[in-house]
């Protein structure tokens, strides 16, 4: 982890142009970064204070977009739906990802294959996952309702009822992405020196105690990252919803990014859409701040 002092470089580079070198290496990246990332992030914020419908020039309106947002019932619906999706999906993704990692970290036969297969759905694109689960969740001919019927349950009108649509999308999302969390947890588990768990075992600790008193605390930094990534990803949900329900039935699955898309690119209110984008960003910042508060990445003791 050592960074060479600048003097070393200066000493060995010939000519007086050595100071250019780092900028030369940085330049190509900085160019695209400023144009396509940093610039848009700043520009989007500026746009949120304007009224603009792509044709014509943006008109500065101050906080009008944000004030309109506060009075927009659909905005509240989309905030509520987004949090509902987060609550349905994130805890399951985190806990199940951890359990799968624990399981497939055990010396079981075929665990290598099992790891790859559990992760495999993540290699599919969102549009494909959406179409596949539309079929599986079909009310009349879907696989899920068929097997539920064998248990004398259902049929559940998964995607066509307001009550079941969001849980259905959440279920699809868990199937699709839980392998991602598993892979991160597995890497974390493999970083734990086996001697630590072994010595706890020799001291007479049972598997539960080893888990709660050795593994879980040592896995804290990994857990922090998984929780953060899961919150960020579920909060920005768009693809599955777009393909599976388009925000419906009614507004039952209208999420924040769905609403942004609708306002900015279907009614072409770019300023209003930008305001939704920045409120989404602010909510996400608040969530990650809350997480830092409740679940610090370092072991405090």
């Amino acid at each position: 982890m050592k960074i060479l002092p600048a003097s070393v470089h200066r000493q060995h580079s010939r000519g007086g142009s050595a100071w250019v070198t780092p900028y030369f290496f940085l330049l190509p990246y900085l160019l695209v970064f400023v144009l396509f990332r940093f610039g848009p992030v700043v520009g989007g914020f500026a746009t949120s204070f304007t009224s603009w419908s792509i044709v014509g020039a943006p008109r500065f309106v101050g906080l009008a977009n944000y004030q309109a947002l506060v009075r927009d019932p659909l905005f509240y619906v989309s905030v509520r739906n987004t949090f509902y999706f987060l609550v349905l999906t994130a805890p399951t993704l985190i806990v199940l990802g951890f359990v799968l990692a624990l399981l497939l970290n055990r010396p079981l036969a075929g665990r290598g294959v099992a790891r790859v297969l559990v992760f495999a759905p993540y290699a599919m694109m969102s549009a494909v996952v959406g179409i596949l689960w539309n079929w599986i969740l079909d009310s009349n001919f879907g696989l899920l309702n068929y097997y539920l019927g064998m248990l004398h349950l259902g049929p559940v009108p998964w995607l066509s009822s307001e009550a079941a649509a969001m849980p259905a999308i959440a279920m699809t999302t868990v199937w699709w992405t839980v392998g991602y969390n598993m892979v991160i947890f597995l890497a974390g588990l493999q970083d734990i020196p086996p001697q630590l768990e072994e010595s706890a075992r020799i001291d007479g600790a049972g598997p539960w105690q080893v888990l709660w008193q050795v593994t879980v605390p040592l896995l804290r930094p990994t857990t922090f990252v998984v929780v953060m990534l899961t919150i960020i990803n579920t909060f920005q949900v768009f693809d599955q919803v777009y393909v599976m329900t388009g925000g419906g039935p009614g507004t039952a699955t209208l999420t924040l990014v769905q609403y942004l898309f609708f306002q900015a690119f279907q009614t072409f209110k770019l300023g209003y859409g930008s305001a939704i984008a920045y409120v989404t960003f602010a909510l996400l910042l608040a969530l990650s701040w809350l997480q830092r508060l409740l679940l610090p990445s370092e072991v405090s003791s």
């Binding site: 600048a6 060995h12 580079s13 388009g246």
Partner: protein, 303 residues
């Protein structure tokens, strides 16, 4: 039940024999449970994919059946032929490949260069530049789509492959990963080359690039996958088959047929397109999974 008993610490001194027998039994119970759970996990992960393939091989008339047949009663390729004949599926695929390959090639080069500069040189503005780049990790990408739309509209470049490639090259994770990688490897080799008279560019291309192949492979895998799966921005930027990519083509043309709204859903063609889009991705994933997982764990653990 078994598990509950495990929570009680065994007596430390006596009854060693009893403890060992108890442990062995518990271990066997836990092992059986573990294998059962492993089997369930694999079946749940795999069954939908198998079902997708199975459905795509059935004639449309046999798909909507009140009893599911995992093995088609009649095998047919008509769904695949239908997709290839009626839709610009091949064009979407080519577009997806071109965008992902070009974007990945650019990202690997410029991110390695930028990461190298940030890790190995001290220069005015380094802290500010690094902090600005890293702070973008926190900003959701959706925040950028409206300004990007405006930029490319003004450049008259909407509905082009460039509109998809360029924003993908402004990748933050890659720079971060490359910088971390360079900080973790010693710089002596580079110094030795410098003493032998190599220029900075020679040091970079002869010493640094060959050394950083694993990190570059991880960055390449991550970039390729995110470009391949990219959905929201292509949905916004692209309006014709000229530049339409696979995910958007499938969602716009196939999603509607498979949707819950409208008349009787048709699943044959949508699922055939799903299979064709998934097969190369899964194949690549099985062959290159080391790099995928490497990329994920590098962002995960060190991010």
């Amino acid at each position: 039940m078994n598990l509950r008993r495990l929570a009680v610490p065994a007596p430390v001194s006596a009854a060693g024999f009893r403890r060992r027998v108890g442990r062995a039994l518990q271990r066997r119970g836990l092992l059986g449970l573990s294998y059962a759970a492993e089997a369930v996990a694999v079946v749940v992960a795999l069954a939908p994919i198998v079902w997708m393939v199975s459905t795509s091989l059935k004639p449309e008339g046999q798909i909507l059946s009140s009893v599911p047949h995992w093995i088609p009663q009649t095998f047919t390729l008509e769904n695949f032929q239908h997709v290839l004949a009626k839709y610009a599926f091949v064009r979407w695929t080519v577009n997806s490949v071109v965008v992902a390959v070009v974007a990945t090639a650019i990202v690997v080069v410029i991110d390695a260069m930028a990461g190298y500069a940030l890790a190995r040189f001290t220069f005015p503005g380094r802290g500010l530049i690094y902090d600005t780049i890293i702070s973008m990790l926190l900003v959701p990408i959706q925040v950028t789509v409206i300004p990007l739309f405006v930029i490319f509209a003004q450049w008259h470049m909407l509905d082009s492959l460039q509109a998809l490639i360029l924003p993908t090259t402004a990748n933050v994770t890659g720079v971060f990963l490359m910088r971390q990688f360079f900080l973790g490897i010693p710089g002596e080799l580079e110094e030795a080359a410098r003493i032998d008279g190599a220029s900075d560019l020679q040091v970079f291309s002869w010493i640094v690039v060959p050394l950083s192949r694993p990190a570059m492979a991880a960055v390449a895998a991550l970039t390729f996958v995110s470009s391949w799966n990219n959905f929201l921005w292509p949905l916004i930027a692209i309006s014709s088959d000229r530049a339409r990519t696979l995910p958007v083509g499938i969602a716009q043309y196939m999603g509607a047929q498979a949707g819950t709204s409208g008349s009787a859903p048709a699943f044959g063609a949508p699922l055939a397109s799903a299979v064709m889009a998934t097969a190369p991705a899964l194949l690549a994933f099985f062959l290159l999974q080391r790099y995928f997982t490497q990329g994920i764990t590098m962002t995960g653990i060190k991010g």
